[in-house]
């Protein structure tokens, strides 16, 4: 694989850009792999990448029924942060955030990681207490966050209205090394690096059945033929329950559509990410100038990856009070992505009742930020059978009552 560099751009500029090679190969599936990963989104590709990078396992296929990064990887609002409350969450999300810091260099692919800072507004006394507690927990966990007062909020976000009639801004939880990244580039960068290691990325190939012998996985049937494997990783957010069913077990998740929208592009006006959980909306400005706005989830199980019209009104209405300038914005697009909601709003990274099958799901409304950390932990789990980062996230925790309650830190009201 030819490296991307300033020199390469100069070289290609002189020969009509005819020398760029495809970022990843699209081979026909082989008959057998050591590891098959179902799902070529960010988490699946990151899992494959770290299997190769950290454990030298490169006889790997990543199978995708649609196109690469076409699920939640391409539908999120690109926010990266690690200001969670519980220790297992802080560990995996902070690992993830730290991997984002060097991702462009590690992958030789510009993922446009922008540690612009994430601010979670406290607009009720309960939120003030909650975020003070989180800030203190984060200090103990080694995650750099702090609680800031309203004048500092105003300094960081001049367009904010601190004195909203219903929900004044009473402070905020601020993480200055949190931020955003270019979501598609994360999937593309991992795909290119995986392909370079000799892994097969097979798109438009749906897994229709998981073949088992004596309680152990032996392969999968796909729309492009049978593929044998020793280990199978299911990393298919939005379709996890359906795939688990095909593998013969059940997941404690609900699938719901999470809503988002963007405005027309405008001049730079806000260089941090602001989340307003009480009024239920969050916003950042993309490099193109669009205001990227995250809303709530639909209140019922559904698999339709589409925007729900009334969410535009609800979300924008919520934001207008805190950001009066939003009232003059035209909205450009809206969409929905299907998220796996668990009872404690924490993910599942676990072995399953089927030997050799591993599941990575349940990231709820906040999976993008976890992409590298999730892949790192999943790869370790699949290679070694256990991973310190994934230890708490077993499928059994629901049976055993060991919940990792993040319904507050997960941010979006569910």
């Amino acid at each position: 694989m030819r490296r991307y560099s300033a020199f390469a751009i100069a070289r290609e500029a002189l020969r009509y850009h005819a020398g760029w090679e495809k970022a990843w190969a699209s081979p026909e599936p082989r008959r057998k792999y050591d590891v098959v990963i179902v799902g070529a989104g960010g988490h699946g590709l990151a899992t494959a990448f770290y299997l190769g990078r950290n454990f030298g396992i490169t006889n790997v296929a990543v199978i995708e029924k649609g196109w690469l990064g076409g699920g939640n990887t391409g539908r999120n609002t690109t926010i990266i942060r690690s200001n969670y409350l519980q220790d297992p969450s802080a560990a995996i999300y902070e690992k993830s955030r730290s991997l984002y810091e060097t991702m462009s260099q590690d992958l030789n692919y510009n993922v446009m990681y922008s540690p612009r800072g994430v601010m979670m507004l406290a607009q009720t006394q309960a939120e003030v207490r909650g975020y003070l507690r989180t800030a203190q927990a984060n200090t103990l966990q080694g995650v750099t966050t702090r609680f800031i007062d309203p004048p500092e909020v105003k300094k960081l976000v001049p367009i904010i209205n601190l004195d909203g009639p219903r929900y004044p801004v009473l402070g905020a939880l601020w993480q200055d090394r949190a931020g955003t990244a270019r979501h598609d580039a994360v999937a593309w960068g991992y795909a290119r690096a995986c392909s370079d290691m000799g892994m097969d990325i097979i798109q438009q190939c749906e897994v229709t059945a998981v073949r088992r012998e004596g309680g152990r996985v032996v392969g999968v049937d796909t729309s492009r033929g049978a593929i044998d494997c020793d280990k199978l990783g299911i990393v298919v957010a939005g379709n996890s329950g359906v795939m688990a069913e095909r593998a013969g077990f059940r997941l404690p998740i609900d699938s719901v559509a999470l809503q988002a929208l963007v405005s027309e592009p405008i001049k730079p006006c806000m260089d941090v990410v602001v989340m307003a959980n009480t009024v239920h909306g969050y916003m950042s400005q993309s490099d193109k100038g669009e205001m990227v706005i995250g809303g709530g989830a639909d209140g019922y199980n559904n698999y339709t990856q589409r925007g729900s019209f009334h969410h535009i009104e609800e979300t924008v209405r919520a934001l207008v009070e805190t950001f009066p300038m939003v009232s003059r914005l035209k909205m450009l697009r809206q969409w929905g992505g299907i998220v796996d909601m668990t009872g404690d709003r924490s993910p599942i990274l676990s072995k399953t009742p089927v030997e050799g099958v591993f599941i990575n799901c349940g990231w709820g409304t906040g999976g993008f930020k976890a992409t590298p950390g999730s892949g790192w932990a999943m790869a370790e789990l699949m290679a070694k059978g256990h991973s310190p980062l994934a230890e708490a996230y077993t499928l059994d925790r629901f049976r055993e009552g060991r919940f990792i309650d993040e319904s507050v830190a997960a941010g979006v009201a569910h």
Binding site: L251, I253, D254, N301, N302, Y303, H310, G343
Partner: protein, 113 residues
């Protein structure tokens, strides 16, 4: 935008008038049940991609609970029916069978009588 017919007040109610109440026809397990039953009651939910039965409440309307049968993959609504039942009525099952032959949900199936 999901629109359901409220069987109590007869309006075609848009989802902003309604509140989803989750999976329908649950058997509740509490004190005295086995660990397995309690776990399944709490966590082993139906989350099908396809035919699903749910409880809904016409919260900004007549305030009544009712049941709905719909497809979670297409948002097609097969029908709504009274809350005072532990199983979907035959007419609803027939309506689903007409549109989704071979459907199943828990122990229910298209051909079930």
């Amino acid at each position: 935008m999901l629109i359901l017919h409220c069987p109590y007040c007869g309006v075609m109610a848009d989802e902003t008038e309604l509140h989803g109440g989750g999976e329908a026809h649950l058997t509740r397990h509490g004190p005295g049940s086995s660990d397995e039953e309690f776990h399944d009651y709490l966590f082993a939910k139906e989350n099908p991609r396809g035919v699903h039965f749910e409880r809904w409440r016409h919260v900004n309307g007549c305030g009544k609970w009712f049941h709905a049968a719909r497809d979670t993959a297409t948002l097609e609504v097969f029908g709504t029916y009274s809350a005072q039942t532990t199983e979907p009525p035959q007419a609803i099952r027939d309506a689903i069978t007409a549109r989704r032959p071979g459907w199943t949900w828990r122990h229910l199936a298209g051909s079930a009588k």
